[in-house]
């Protein structure tokens, strides 16, 4: 399994690419971030096999080709083995290939093309590790102001979408997440359950089910802090079934 970093300033595009990368089953997304500064922070302690880098990163500073500057820097620091450039236009293709990028993905993205890129990366992947490689299991990168917080699986209790933004609930409180719930679902796999259009919860962190009239909600958290998560009506059955599987003490009646 390859480890990937996604650097893309637009949230829907970022989530989209994360979903596609996960769907190839060739790579896990180590972090998906909107700015160069956050990308560098995500790479501080780990190396990744491939970075998908958008050329024009609004809000990163460094003008309309901030992404290319990042490629050059990360390449020189040896933190990223291969680069794939993602952009709407082909105008920077020559510069990108001069920088030694392995592929050039144009927008809109398609799954087959992302798979092809990752196959190329896999074929070209050098033997032997350099620094500490990103781990295979999905970790969540949350944002606390301008710094990153890495949460191991299980440390992230629940994800909440509010408006067009997303947040993670953890022992550290409610932190920003720069991905959509759909993308997070793809990264985190079956240990997380979509209980509501706006909620994704860690199955192992569900402490209880509450019923209030027609509304069902879950209590999620650890011993000291909890959050109450609503369950969508049409998902109640499914959620209960999933929670009660491999649970001793209750039997599911048809």
């Amino acid at each position: 399994m390859l480890s990937a970093l996604v650097l893309e300033d637009e949230r829907p595009a970022r989530s989209y690419l994360v979903e596609l990368v996960e769907a190839t089953r060739l790579a896990r997304v180590h972090a998906a971030v909107p700015s160069v500064a956050l990308a560098l922070e995500a790479l501080r302690d780990v190396d990744v096999d491939v970075a998908f880098v958008d050329v024009n990163l609004v809000g990163s500073g460094g003008g309309p080709t901030a992404g290319l500057a990042f490629v050059e820097r990360a390449r020189d620091e040896g933190k990223v083995a291969r680069f794939v450039i993602t952009t709407a236009s082909r105008e920077h293709a020559l510069t990108a290939f001069d920088l030694g990028v392995i592929d050039y993905l144009t927008k809109p993205f398609v799954l087959s093309r992302v798979r092809e890129s990752l196959s190329r990366v896999a074929e070209a992947r050098p033997a032997g590790g350099r620094g500490e490689r990103a781990r295979d299991e999905g970790r969540v990168v949350a944002r606390k102001g301008r710094s990153l917080v890495f949460l191991d699986p299980g440390e992230a209790w629940a994800f909440e979408a509010e408006g067009r933004l997303a947040f993670v609930h953890s022992a550290e409180g409610r932190l920003d997440v720069d991905l959509s719930l759909a993308a997070l679902e793809a990264v985190l796999g079956p240990n997380y359950l979509r209980v509501h259009r706006n909620w994704l919860v860690a199955v192992a962190r569900v402490k209880g089910i509450e019923r209030d009239g027609g509304e069902t909600s879950l209590v999620v958290g650890d011993g000291t802090r909890t959050v109450t998560v609503p369950v969508a009506r049409d998902r109640v059955g499914q959620v209960k079934a999933r929670l009660l599987t491999s649970t001793i003490g209750l039997r599911l009646t048809e």
Binding site: R11, A13, R14, S15, V58, A88, S89, A182
Partner: protein
């Protein structure tokens, strides 16, 4: 690129009248205009694809296309495309040919004056002494007159006077100068009788000097005006017509460019692709918005009412907000009284894009205020953002340059619209004050 623009513009002026070839060397197009005496010039037009021109007309249109491409692609630096560039290059040609025109004009005047005398000389009516003295006197006088005429004309053109004004001025100064010259000669003849050697019977009175000066300068002035100035005026007029045509086409191109960039479309499509799983309803809504923008883009005329412009901007902003959710907000302040006012269609779009991309998205809580109002009878459009500010000139300079150029082109012949990008408090303000309507 700007420096390359200048020679290209100069070449353009010549191409119009001279056979020209345009060739491509190493991806750099070179336009080579020849046949203008001593002035073959090369203009390098960066990477614009030009082929050899089969005719003057082709070369003309190709150079124009390249120039428009350059002008709109270069960062334009406010005045890189100055209104008078064509006139200037035409002027170069005019001045280069001036000496030749002066000589032919001089020869023509001599022929006009001496031809009738020659016939009379042949029949013995005019005595050889009179003929040759006249030939000598006129030759000298006309040469002096022509030098004065051409010098004044040339100096006037170089000082920036128009062709017509320079013509009239040179003609008007030549007569008095000739009169002064003749009077000077009369005085000299009285003091030094030797000066009368040509025709001792010629009177030396002031009135004779003055009237012969007027009469003698008349054919010269007529020949000069008829042979040179009138055709030059006609050519200039044609050149101006052509320039207006060029400007019209350029304005159209800029309008098209401003509408929807491929980059914007592709990124929006990608955003919709990303929203399909997470928020299908929003994805559909965005598809609809994009569809409306596309539909409008194909039917937009030169002008927009403020109402249409705002509707377009709202959609444009909505798409950006979908792409960068939660990062910035937009406040709309549109005075009801300006809803039906007209402005160049979508002139405000690059300003909004600039405010979003280079302003509001660079700070944590971006804020944009779009304002349409009336001040002093003129429509004022303001787009302010709380970004870090323009600095010397933001990297979005290209879009701003397009706005400036469009305002310049479309307010032709009216009180010009003005554009400024300033810092007011914590806001960067892009402000357009449009030309008064109907003036």
């Amino acid at each position: 690129v700007i420096s390359a623009c200048q020679p290209a513009t100069r070449a353009y002026g010549r191409v119009a009248r001279a056979p020209a070839v345009a060739v491509e060397l190493d991806g750099v197009a070179v336009v080579w205009a020849t046949a203008m005496p001593g002035s073959s010039k090369m203009g390098h037009l960066s990477s614009e694809r030009l082929l050899a021109a089969p005719s003057t007309a082709h070369a003309h249109s190709m150079v124009h296309a390249a120039k428009v491409g350059l002008a709109s692609r270069s960062s334009l630096g406010r005045s890189s495309f100055d209104r008078d560039s064509h006139t200037k290059s035409g002027l170069d040609g005019l001045l280069a040919g001036l000496r030749m025109h002066a000589v032919t004009g001089y020869a023509a005047v001599l022929v006009v004056i001496l031809a009738p005398l020659s016939v009379r000389l042949a029949y013995g009516v005019v005595k050889p002494r009179v003929f040759f003295s006249t030939l000598f006197a006129f030759g000298l006088v006309m040469a002096c007159g022509m030098v004065v005429l051409v010098s004044v004309f040339r100096a006037a053109l170089l000082r920036g006077l128009g062709l017509k004004a320079a013509g009239v001025l040179s003609l008007c100064t030549t007569m008095p100068v000739m009169v002064l010259g003749y009077l000077g000669l009369s005085v000299a003849q009285r003091i030094v009788p030797w000066f009368c050697f040509l025709d001792p019977e010629e009177p030396t009175t002031a009135s004779y000097g003055a009237f012969t000066a007027l009469a003698d300068s008349f054919p010269m002035i007529a020949a000069w005006a008829g042979m040179f100035q009138l055709p030059a005026l006609l050519r200039m007029h044609e050149a101006r017509e052509r320039e207006f045509d060029t400007v019209r086409r350029e304005a159209e191109l800029l309008r098209l460019k401003a509408h929807l960039e491929p980059h914007f479309l592709l990124n929006t499509m990608n955003a919709i692709g990303g929203l399909v799983t997470e928020d299908p309803a929003h994805a559909r809504e965005l598809l609809g918005t994009l569809g409306e923008l596309l539909r409008d883009a194909t039917s937009i005329g030169d002008e927009h009412t403020v109402r249409d412009e705002v509707a377009w901007l709202e959609r444009y902003a909505a798409i950006h907000q979908a792409r960068f959710p939660g990062l910035f907000s937009v406040e709309w302040q549109v005075e009801a009284s300006v809803n039906d006012s007209k402005l160049p269609a979508l002139v405000s779009q690059p300003l909004l894009e600039n405010a979003i991309s280079h302003g509001a998205l660079g700070v944590s809580e971006g804020k944009i205020v779009v304002r349409f109002a009336r001040a002093g009878g003129r429509l004022v459009l303001e787009i302010r953002d709380n970004g870090r500010g323009p600095g010397p000139r933001r990297s979005g300079g290209k879009g701003l340059a397009i706005v400036e150029r469009r305002l310049e082109l479309e307010s032709r012949g009216r009180e010009p619209s003005t554009f400024e990008l300033v810092r007011e408090g914590n806001f960067t303000v892009a402000r357009v004050v449009l030309a008064k309507e109907g003036t």
